[in-house]
Each structure stands twice: as structure tokens, then as C-alpha cells.
Symmetry: C2
Subunit: 347 residues, 2 copies
């Protein structure tokens, strides 16, 4: 039997904690025998949730924590003060090598800050990006970066493009993933200062399949597999996606309820429609990886239910088995080497 | 009879020129007797289109032009070289006071550049923003700025907030319009450098009803009437709106075609659905005004049909009758005065 992939899960984080989190962890170990879950949380609370389930005890362990970080707490302070919180405990399990990955439905800020401060960055990574998968007409794309650190530099965006390519190729199985930079026009001379500076760097980057600028209009159509942008822009894309999706579906439902005729029609189309729209639901893709850390940190929606927690845990298996972090390390080392070669040539 | 509102229209600009443009102009003068249209274009071509219609001749004039600016031409060069183009001729009609406004479905770049260079800015306006109306759950909001000039300064955004408020109040009839700044979180300390610098300026601005940060997720729900952002972000919001809308509607249609049952349902819901979704169609709102110029320039979609051209022309009547530019001038003068008072107090 190959080695188990070990995933720490914060049982106390998220709107539906601990119930849905514990349920998702149980479902993950029952569905996949390659994974072991470490549930961090208040022991009594977690044990009580577990009591009703059947699962392989040797692959689900409870790690006691006495504190809980709330969503509204200032992240840096929370990480620093609550050393015995379920979130900090889980991050430490990754730091000390007990676990390969951490899945969090709790405070986004604390997860991002804690990931960087406790787990730490891979040597050479300038800024670890948060990279959710977003649904498109043809499948899904990686939107990188949607994190909390805005005002990125061109070199950050180049690293996002590389890390995103590794992720899409080896975790999602997209061969030679297309990389695009979010821009306000297709021409190379278009864009803000950051995009204009980044464009030639991406164009000359031999490790990626750069296809140029991508207008936001073309993202939902699946124009690029790896959609590179600075975090402010990434957040705007992601949240406009969510907002327009929610509003339009509300409009469709309201439209179907306007007459008796349309109500009858609604009953008939409902099952088929539900199926199709499910493929365009942001939440089905589970968590967003925070890339470039010494270990994997996956942030799932605060509103995650068991199925999303389970999917996020399972996602960690491919990430670990495909040695994504080793690939990222190699890519960054080759950068340093080629930089040195260039400097040597210049001398 | 009150004075006519005079609108120049580029008969040669847009994907459906000259047919739909001329048709829209004819419909406008037939529908509203307060407006006179000046159609600029190649005389033979325009006259031929007009031949089939009945309309009040005294309120539709053809202004001859010998050249046409194509969408793909570099804007600055096109404006400079093609002095006898239909677009430049129309802009000059606004500049020399013959017309109050100009409606263009042609090159966005040339319209924006020409508006600034030929029509010119209102004294005190630092950057004229392009401000389309976007549909929301509750009506529509003004997204300001979506223009071609990115990397704005905080003072630009403050002017956008003021000009946008004047527009929403006096053209759209929204009393005391709510102004929000696009941000990645609701808290005041969130945001990129630009937003953090702009936030306190908006907060202390007495002329507007500032409600704070608006997350992109809440824009489609109608969280703010005036949605202030820098042009790169505005373009990303606008185009994500378009893209997600188009993809979702495609998905809904495909979903309805998956089984016999759903196909029958689709026939029943179609009329009601069409009606509801029409209210969420970006194109129904006609053109986007380029605010802060000595005259009104309205940019409509390149793909505009007659109805959009007509709506854009009619929109110019309210703008002119409500003396929006005088109101903008007054607001900016009061700024200069209060700045002087402050400086005097400081001395």
C-alpha cells in the first residue's frame, strides 16, 4: 500500500461547523482509502459529531484544540494570540510535517495569513496566490490571484502564471494549459501599467503557453485555462461572477413564476435546468488552493457543506501525489539557474 | 415651442451602419418632436437609406462627410488625419455649438479621444469618465469609469462620484443616489492603494451620498446607484457582467433542450422568461455618456440596432434639458471656492 496523504481539517471553521465539516471528513475517508484526516477542534464537540458515523478509525484522528478563531477577528492578531486554536493547530500539523495539507472553511484572512506565517513560503516564491477554479462554458479555469495581498508587481504575476500552469496541468489534467492575462483589450499596447510591464515578461517565459490578453468578457467562455491577474482584479472578477450568476438565476426563476402557463413550463424544465446550471455553480469546485507554500493550504467557502469539504480533502490527494510543490520548486530553481547563466553571459 | 435639442449622429459608425443608424435617427425624430438630428456621412449613402422613410425633414439634416474612421484604426492618428470623416464632423458640430450632443456607435477609441481633443473638457474636469448604465435586480446603476484611461488618481475618482451623482439624480431621476466605491471587502481598511487613498476623500465629500465600499458581488443586487471605480476595474466589471450573462443564458437554453419533457416546458416558459431577462440585458440601456465634456458624447455598442440608436438620441434630450453640464460646472466651481476658503483659513 502506498503512503497515506494526510490532511488537517479545521472542524470548528465555517458557517456550518462543526456538523458539516465533520460529516465531510467522514465521507472523505469512507470514499477514498488513500487519505487520513486530522480533525482539529474542541474534543467533546468533535467526538459528539463523530459518534453517529461509521468510518475507519485509523484514518480519522481528532487533534484537540481549546480555542476557535472567529471570522470577524483581525487575522494577524488572531493567529498570534490564539496559539491553541483549531486553525493554528491545523497549520502547525502541516508545518511540522505531520500533514501534507490543510483544508479550512474558516476565516479567509486568518487562513491566508497563517498559511504564510506558519506553513511558510517555498524558497523563491515572492507571493503565494489564492487560486479558485471558476466554471466556464467548456469546463473550468484557474483564476490566479484572488488573495488578500493587492497591488502586485510584474514578477509576482509571472510566478502566478507558472504556478497556475503546474496546477492546471498536473492536478486538473489540462495538457499545455493556455495562460492569459486579464486586460481591457486584446492588443499588446492596451492595459494599465502593471499589465503593460508584465505582458513582455510572460511572452518571453519559456515554461508557459502564453496566449496574450484575455478580456473579462471571454473568461466565462473558457478563453484561458490559467487566468492571471492582480488580486484586486481577481476578486472583482470572482465576485462579479457570483453576483451576476445569483441575480440572473433569481431573474430566471421569477420569470418562470409570472403566469400559469410559465409555472407549468417551469415544472417541466426544472430537473434538466438544475442539472445544467449545477455545472456553472462556483461552489461545486471545492476549495481554492493557496499555492507556493511548504505544504498545501486549501480555502473552501465559509458556507461549505459536507460535499465541498469532502471534495476539498480529495483534491489534496492529487496535489500531493503529483508532487506539485516539487514541480514548483524545480521551476523556480531553473529560473535562478537561467538568471545566473544570463548574468554570466553578460559578464 | 421650446428650443430643439440638437444631436449629431455618425451615420457611418458601427457594425450595422449605415442602415440601423439611419433607421434609429428617423425613429427618434418621429417619436419625439423636441429633437433634431444631424446625420454625418457620405451623402449618397445616407440619402439612399433615408429614401424609404417618412419623417419631418426640418428635424433631420444630412451633413456631408467624405471619409469614414474604421474600428481598427489607431484612434489618435485617425482623429488627426481624417478631418473630413463622419466622426470628426459630428464632433465639430458639438464643438461649434451647432449640436448639444453626439451619438456614436463607431470606434470607441476614436470617440473617446475625439471627445476630449475636439469637444474638450469642462474647465476643472481632470478626466472625463465613460459611464454605462448596468442592469441590477432593482433597476440600474451607473458604472463610472469604464473608459480608456486607466491608472486613475484619487481626485479623479472623487470627480467621477460627483458627476455620476448628478447624472443619476437628474437624468435617471434617482433621489439622493447612493455612491459606493468598488472594493474587495466592506471594511474601510481594505483595498488597494488607490481605494485606500480615495475612501476618506469620498467620506468627507459633502455633495454626495457616500455609502462606503461595495463588493463586486453586490453590484448586480443594486447595492449602489453610482458605482465608482478606476477604468481598468470598471472594464473588468462590465465585461464580466456581459460574459457571465451570455454564458448563463446559453446554459439555460441548453438545459431546456436536454429532454422532450424540458423542451415542452421551454415552449411554455419562453415568453415570460424573455420578458424578465430583457430587463437584465445590458444593451437595452442605450449608450454610455462620456461625462465632463463641453457637450454630451454618447457611445453606444458597436453592435447597436435602430432601437438602441433611438434610445441614445432620446437620452440626450433629458441630459440637455436638465442642464447636466451646468450642474457639473457649478459643483466643480464650488470645489474651487471651498479649496480657496480652506487655503485662506490655513494661512
Amino acid at each position: 500500500m502506498s503512503e497515506l496523504v494526510k490532511v488537517a481539517v479545521d472542524a470548528m471553521g465555517g458557517d456550518n461547523a462543526p456538523g458539516e465539516i465533520v460529516k465531510g471528513a467522514v465521507e472523505a475517508v469512507n470514499e477514498n482509502d488513500k487519505v487520513k484526516v486530522y480533525l482539529t477542534g474542541i474534543p467533546d464537540v468533535v467526538e459528539k459529531e463523530l459518534a453517529g458515523y461509521t468510518y475507519p478509525k485509523e484514518r480519522l484522528e481528532v487533534v484537540p484544540a481549546s480555542e476557535v478563531i472567529e471570522t470577524a477577528e483581525p487575522p494577524v492578531m488572531a493567529i498570534r494570540k490564539k496559539k491553541d486554536s483549531s486553525l493554528v493547530k491545523a497549520l502547525n500539523l502541516v508545518k511540522d510535517g505531520t500533514c501534507d495539507a490543510f483544508v479550512s472553511a474558516g476565516s479567509t484572512g486568518a487562513t491566508l495569513v497563517g498559511g504564510q506565517v506558519i506553513v511558510g513560503r517555498i524558497k523563491g516564491v515572492e507571493r503565494p496566490p489564492l487560486a479558485p477554479l471558476i466554471p466556464t462554458e467548456t469546463g473550468c479555469s484557474l483564476l490566479i490571484d484572488c488573495g488578500a495581498n493587492v497591488d502586485a508587481r510584474p514578477s509576482h504575476l509571472v510566478q502566478f502564471a507558472k504556478m497556475g500552469s503546474v496546477y492546471m496541468e498536473h492536478v486538473m489534467g489540462v495538457k499545455n494549459p493556455k495562460v492569459g492575462i486579464v486586460n481591457i483589450g486584446a492588443e499588446e499596447e492596451k492595459g494599465n501599467a502593471l499589465v503593460k510591464e508584465t505582458f513582455p515578461l510572460l511572452k518571453n517565459c519559456p515554461d508557459i503557453n502564453f496566449i496574450g490578453s484575455v478580456e473579462a468578457r471571454d473568461i466565462p467562455a473558457g478563453a484561458a485555462d490559467v487566468v492571471v491577474c492582480e488580486a484586486f482584479v481577481g476578486n472583482v472578477v470572482l465576485k462579479t461572477y457570483e453576483g451576476v450568476g445569483a441575480t440572473l438565476i433569481k431573474k430566471v426563476k421569477a420569470g418562470m413564476m409570472t403566469s400559469l402557463r410559465s409555472k407549468i413550463g417551469a415544472l417541466l424544465v426544472k430537473p434538466a435546468l438544475k442539472q445544467t446550471l449545477k455545472a456553472f455553480d462556483l461552489e461545486q469546485y471545492g476549495g481554492a488552493p493557496l499555492l507556493g507554500l511548504n505544504g498545501l493550504v486549501v480555502k473552501t467557502h465559509g458556507s461549505s457543506k459536507a460535499v465541498e469539504i469532502k471534495n476539498s480533502i480529495i483534491q489534496c490527494i492529487t496535489f500531493t501525489e503529483q508532487k506539485i510543490n516539487d514541480r514548483i520548486r524545480e521551476m523556480l530553481v531553473s529560473d535562478v539557474v537561467s538568471d545566473e547563466v544570463i548574468s554570466a553571459e553578460e559578464r
